[in-house]
């Protein structure tokens, strides 16, 4: 109990001592907070993006087969389906029709995708929430598109095709459906002038996931102009790339971080005359070297923890509320152009602990060691200065 009381008294004294050197300490906390803010922003962003991608793409098709012409993706002939279906282990092969449409009226890009449910209802579409707002800039009362409104599409032969909105996709699915427009096959082929015997790509279901690489190899053997993409490959790609992108920024920030450590070391070693006198007086009135060290430890801990919590909080706001405006072009790459997404905050104790050991511990070590030297000063000589 007595030991606890002693700690409390030393902490009280430390805080009031920090208050006496307000300007210097506020500046230090601000720089420290900024360093933690930068590191935490990168960690939060890359982790959330990886998690988001892994969760969403868990249900992506097991295998997608695209056709390449001169290194570019091209339409795939429907007769490829028959030969692929013959491969042992393939359960089903379904053609997909999808593409991108630039709407010059609203300046927005939409993803048009054929939905089998609409195939007997040509002329009707189902739209995502983002489309409903972006397609209706001139509407009265700032209302979005409603059921039975018509969106004009310019077809590839120059005519205009009006499609009636028959429904809106659920708001909850906005992250993946914001720009999506579901159309019938007839309308899709009419808009993009695509022949009936062609599809955008093929998606496969297989009986045993372990056979996927073998089936992919067989497909490229039968059709050398195709490129099978496995779900596992997509997942691995996102994982590796966002690690890489996070690493690039951390490398850049490493310089800032080391500069900060040098600053902290310099601050701790170069004690001001006032600080030296304070230590001298404390020792003269009976404080021991261990008490001075304890005081310095609490000083470092108070500064570190304050900066740590503030930095993490600001990084959270930056990444999840302000869409990481500082790093977006580097972390998102060309995704800044097109899929507009807001990240779901995925943070865990491991990340916070990593940040803690990367920032607070080095600072505390950098300040406590030189403090030991000052704690052993002879009080008499200091007070004579």
């Amino acid at each position: 109990m007595k030991a606890l009381e002693k700690q409390r008294n030393i902490l009280d004294f430390t805080l009031s001592s920090l208050g006496r050197r307000k300007g210097k300490n506020i500046a230090l906390v601000m720089v420290y907070t900024f360093v933690i803010f930068l590191l935490a922003s990168v960690l939060f962003f890359t982790h959330s993006l990886k998690k988001e991608a892994a969760l969403i793409l868990q249900d992506a098709p097991a295998m997608t087969v695209q056709r390449l012409v001169a290194g570019r993706q091209d339409m795939i002939p429907m007769h490829y389906i028959d030969s692929i279906r013959q491969i042992k282990g393939v359960q089903s092969v379904v053609p997909r029709l999808w593409g991108y449409y630039y709407d010059a009226l609203s300046g927005a890009n939409y993803t048009l995708m054929v939905n089998a449910d609409l195939n007997d209802r040509a002329g009707e579409i189902i739209i995502g929430n983002g489309v409903s707002w972006r397609s209706a800039p001139g509407k009265r009362n700032n209302q979005g598109l409603q059921k039975n409104d018509i969106i004009p599409f310019k077809t590839y032969d120059g005519t205009v095709l009006g499609l009636k909105v028959k429904g809106l996709l659920p708001f909850a699915s906005e992250l993946v459906t914001a720009d999506l427009i579901l159309v019938s096959e007839t309308d899709f082929r009419k808009i993009f002038a695509i022949a009936n015997d062609q599809a955008t790509d093929l998606v496969l279901q297989v009986r045993n996931a372990k056979e996927l690489p073998t089936i992919a190899a067989k497909i490229t053997q039968i059709h050398p102009d195709t490129r099978p993409i496995l779900r596992q490959e997509i997942l691995r790609t996102y994982d590796a790339v966002f690690d890489w992108r996070g690493g690039v920024i951390l490398m850049v920030l490493a310089g800032v971080f080391f500069a900060f450590i040098i600053l902290a070391w310099d601050k701790a070693t170069g004690l001001s005359a006032e600080e030296k006198r304070e230590i001298g007086i404390l020792k003269a009135i009976g404080w021991e070297t261990s008490d001075i060290l304890l005081m310095k430890f609490w000083e470092g801990a108070a500064v570190s923890l304050m900066a740590f919590f503030m930095g993490i909080f600001l990084a959270y706001l930056h990444v999840f509320l302000a869409s990481s405006i500082l790093f977006a072009p580097v972390l998102k790459g060309w995704s800044v152009l097109y899929p507009h997404f807001r990240l779901t905050p995925y943070i865990n104790a491991y990340q916070i602990a990593t940040l803690f050991f990367l920032t607070v511990i080095p600072y505390t070590v950098a300040t406590i060691v030189p403090s030991w030297r000052s704690a052993t000063i002879d009080p008499d000589s200091v007070m004579r200065m």
């Binding site: 993006l49 991608a53 992506a60 997608t64 695209q66 290194g71 570019r72 993706q73 999808w98 991108y100 630039y102 300046g107 927005a108 890009n109 993803t111 995708m113 993946v176 720009d179 999506l180 993409i229 997509i234 790609t237 996102y238 790339v241 890489w244 992108r245 690039v248 072009p329 580097v330 972390l331 998102k332 790459g333 060309w334 995704s335 800044v336 152009l337 097109y338 899929p339």
Partner: protein, 83 residues
């Protein structure tokens, strides 16, 4: 410092011939882009890329080549509202 400037001036004079040669190749072969990043076609030929190339794999795909974060998106690809 003086030596540094002198070396720069001399090197520029010596390299003039190479620059002329490169320009001739660009003219003769009608090339449009520098060969900086070859991993994706939109970073290999950023001036020729269309808006959707980075997202060609599947709808709502995220762009995923590392060079995408080093090479900035050409301004002409942004919709008018974002430029």
């Amino acid at each position: 410092m003086g030596l540094m400037f002198m070396d720069a001036v001399v090197s520029q004079r010596l390299d003039r011939e190479f620059v002329r040669e490169r320009r001739a190749i660009v003219r003769a072969l009608t090339l449009t882009d520098l060969c900086l990043f070859t991993e994706a076609r939109y970073t290999r030929h950023p001036s020729m890329t269309e808006l959707h190339t980075p997202f060609q794999d599947h709808p709502m795909a995220l762009e995923h080549f590392p060079s995408g974060s080093i090479m900035a998106v050409p301004a002409r690809l942004y919709p008018p509202a974002q430029q």
